[in-house]
């Protein structure tokens, strides 16, 4: 009996396996691209723009390569962790990587990134904005290719600035912003959470006083010195501490990231906000969906990042993504060819319109199509021209984490003690004398 039952089963199983094999062969035969090298592009999360570009450049390569995307974690430090681990382990699947600029030196210094060929450099950086280009360099060499650049603007509610009598066509200072919010009992949209955004804010405040956080970013760990314990460091801490102690960022400031500060700004108590341009597209979308009133959109204005000192131009934060190639990649030449395709100015324009991430190429802003979706495109270009990158050092992660620990919660920041404590904390951590 067992045999009579077993035989048909075995027969069916054999037929099923045969059919599956045949289907597999058929499918692989149909695709016809088994000889085409596959490039893996590790992308940061976006609205699908990088996947579209991968598809587009695959088609444009006419069979020279095929780009497939692989998603990295949501936040920049987690992206760095994953990429650094893989690069250190010699993972050869890292053909193209979307890299956050501050973390590039740490990957470039040990030789984890393939050198950018001269012809790629020539083809891709001819009209790159200065700040974006600086973020792709290490030891005076281009180690990644600028893809898109980001910066922050000062967003304001016109009703508030009018009541305060501020002329927003002229540069405004942090003191003016703070005073206007205090007088009208309104709240400021800043990023007070313990995250990378804290370093972004502090760096912009220090750079806006013509000073850098580090004396020499390229120094060895044991030789690194900071500029925190200076008048500029104290002024930066004073601004952050005042907003914190006066409760000007609302009760939820300790967990307020870019998105939360946008929601605060959109609320009844919103007045000013420093934030990336994504807030415009997000607010517009919320109005179109009926979640927010049209009046709100009409009440929103934008200008350059606030100054610290009224006579010194502000240095807005610089963000964005650069594209690097893994040193262990087996298709480095093809990867750089693909990068040349991806970063074409027209692709950057399209990526800005569809995904809200501003171009790093100057000529990409010339497209008139931008004006309709992003009426502040010129302001963004101007901000990018003045933007200052965060310190380009292999020890950026330690420095940023130490800043986040010392400057949060912002209600505890004191101008007379926090900068000097941060200075000694960073120095001791980098010398291996303390934990972080």
């Amino acid at each position: 009996m067992g045999g009579s039952v077993g035989t048909p089963h075995r027969g069916r199983s054999a037929r099923a396996v045969g059919a599956a094999l045949a289907a597999g062969l058929l499918l692989s035969g149909c695709s016809g691209d088994e000889d085409v090298p596959v490039l893996t592009w590790y992308i940061n999360p976006d609205d699908g723009g990088q996947a579209t570009l991968a598809q587009q450049c695959t088609e444009e390569s006419e069979g020279a390569y095929q780009i497939q995307t692989s998603l990295l974690p949501a936040d920049a430090p987690s992206q760095r962790e994953q990429l650094a681990r893989r690069l250190a382990a010699g993972d050869n699947s890292l053909d193209i990587m979307s890299l956050d600029p501050p973390f590039i030196p740490e990957l470039a210094e040990p030789g984890f990134l393939a050198p950018v060929p001269a012809e790629t450099e020539e083809a891709t950086t001819g009209d790159t904005l200065e700040g974006a280009l600086a973020g792709a360099m290490w030891n005076e060499e281009l180690v990644a290719v600028p893809f898109w650049a980001n910066t922050q603007l000062l967003w304001y509610r016109e009703s508030v600035t009018e009541a305060a009598g501020l002329d927003m066509d002229e540069p405004v200072t942090w003191d003016q912003v703070i005073d206007a919010a205090m007088e009208q009992n309104k709240l400021l949209g800043v990023q007070g959470t313990r995250a990378e955004s804290m370093t972004v804010w502090l760096n912009a405040l220090v750079e806006s006083q013509d000073t850098s956080i580090l004396v020499d970013p390229e120094a060895r760990a044991v030789d690194l010195e900071t500029n925190f314990d200076t008048a500029e460091g104290e002024k930066a801490a004073d601004i952050i501490g005042t907003i914190g102690t006066e409760g000007l960022a609302g009760p939820g400031v300790a967990s307020m990231d870019e998105n939360q500060s946008m929601l605060l700004f959109q609320g009844d108590n919103g007045s000013f906000m420093v934030n990336w341009p994504f807030v415009w597209a997000a607010t517009k979308a919320a109005v179109e969906e009926g979640v927010l009133e049209q009046d709100l959109l009409e009440d929103i204005g934008w200008s350059q990042y606030p100054r610290v000192d009224e006579d010194t131009a502000s240095a807005p934060p610089l963000g964005g993504i650069n594209l690097g190639v893994g040193a262990e990649s087996e298709h480095q030449d093809l990867a750089f060819d693909a990068i040349e395709c991806i970063v074409q100015p027209e692709n950057q324009t399209e990526y800005f319109i569809t995904n809200g991430n501003p171009p790093s190429s100057e000529s990409a802003y010339d497209d008139e199509a931008l004006e309709e979706d992003y009426p502040m495109a010129d302001a963004i270009r101007e901000a990018l021209a003045n933007a200052a990158p965060r310190p380009q050092t292999p020890f950026y992660n330690e420095i940023s984490t130490a800043i986040q620990q010392e400057f949060t919660p912002i209600s505890g920041v004191r101008a007379d003690s926090t900068p000097s404590e941060t200075d000694s904390f960073i120095v001791e951590v980098l010398r291996g004398e303390r934990l972080l």
Binding site: P77, E81, A84, R85, A88, E106, L107, E109, P110, F112, R194, P251, G252, V253, A254, S255, Q260, L263, P394, N397, E398, T401, T408, P409, G432, E433, R434, L435, L436
Partner: protein, 330 residues
């Protein structure tokens, strides 16, 4: 009335009576040898696999902890012997604080869980047969939820921006829409511990239920006949007879609680002075990519866990084999 010490003595006599003849012969019978061989054949592969997947990483971590080694600076790797440990032990603000918070969370959560778990075990034990299955399932639901998911649920409940707790409980003094639970140590650690307690109390309840089931009914009946009050039955019959189960539950939960990570990582990521040892090890090894220093923190965490085991087994006489056949060989 039969009291616990008497029962215990009787059990000891029974145990020694059954095992003495074997010890006396000094030789194992063929059957015993064959059983021992079978035992090794069955458990041996698992034992060696477990040893290889745990011993190797532990040895590697101990070795790495003696080096100054950063993953992104492989050429700068150097042997520093115990320097990493000196750095860690001399850091009051980070290491000792993290150790203090970890111990605080361990002691408070285990104590609360023990009380609540015992209550739930009693309810499950005494519940009517008709609802017993449903009741046990309901009580075990939190334990079936992945810790990260539970941590997010608690986080979103109390988050000042998206949480409903501030709104629902605004009538409670001290709670209003401006209360940021995760901005201060007191409130943040309370939520972290509450989440931990909610999630793992069923585990303790389950272990205690097994202990309750082992208390012979005749002992309780005899105590009742002798006129013992509920409290006397509890303190002089049930609890003493459950001592082994209670100690096993405490040990297992203490080891688990000492390695707390998910709740802190999700809710505060160590801000508001809520950093714990596991998070410190993670941030140092994975975040900073400082393999040497991070390995040293991990080794210290491992030694702390060993110490808890040692103290529990040696000083509190926890018998991990209690209630199984392993002890008496029966």
């Amino acid at each position: 009335m039969t009291t616990a010490p008497e029962t215990s003595r009787r059990q000891k006599r029974e145990n020694s009576g059954s095992s003495q003849p074997r010890r006396g012969t000094g030789k194992k019978s063929n059957r015993a040898k064959s059983e021992a061989r079978l035992g090794w054949l069955i458990a041996g592969p698992a034992f060696f696999i477990m040893l290889s997947v745990t011993a190797y990483p532990i040895a590697q971590a101990v070795y790495d902890s003696l080096f100054s080694f950063r993953l992104t600076a492989p050429d700068d790797r150097s042997f520093v012997f115990l320097q990493n440990y000196l750095t860690i032990f001399s850091d009051v603000e980070v290491f000792w604080q993290a150790l203090g918070v970890t111990l605080f969370v361990t002691v408070v959560t285990v104590a609360v869980e023990l009380v609540l778990g015992f209550g739930l075990a009693l309810v499950m034990h005494k519940a009517l047969k008709r609802i017993r299955g449903a009741l046990r399932t309901a009580i075990l639901v939190p334990y079936g939820i992945i810790t990260v998911v539970s941590a997010f649920a608690w986080y979103y409940m109390f988050d000042i921006n998206s949480g409903f707790v501030n709104n629902w409980f605004s009538w409670v003094p001290g709670i209003d829409s401006d209360l940021d639970w995760f901005a201060n140590f007191g409130t943040a650690i309370t939520i972290i511990m509450a989440s931990e307690i909610w999630k793992t109390t069923p585990f303790i309840a389950l272990l205690l239920l097994a202990g309750l089931a082992q208390v012979p009914d005749e002992l309780v009946e005899a105590a009742k006949v002798d006129g013992a009050s509920w409290r006397q039955q509890m303190t002089r019959v049930i609890l003493p007879n459950m001592k082994a189960a209670i100690m096993v539950a405490v040990l297992f939960r203490a080891l688990d609680a000492f390695r707390i990570f998910d709740n802190v990582f999700i809710m505060t990521n160590g801000s508001a002075n809520t950093e714990v040892l596991s998070l410190l090890a993670y941030r140092t090894s994975i975040g900073r990519l400082e393999i040497g220093l991070g390995s040293a923190v991990s080794v210290i965490l491992f030694i702390c866990v060993l110490l808890i085991c040692f103290i529990a087994i040696k000083f509190f006489k926890v018998d991990l084999a209690s209630g199984t056949d392993a002890k008496g060989g029966k």
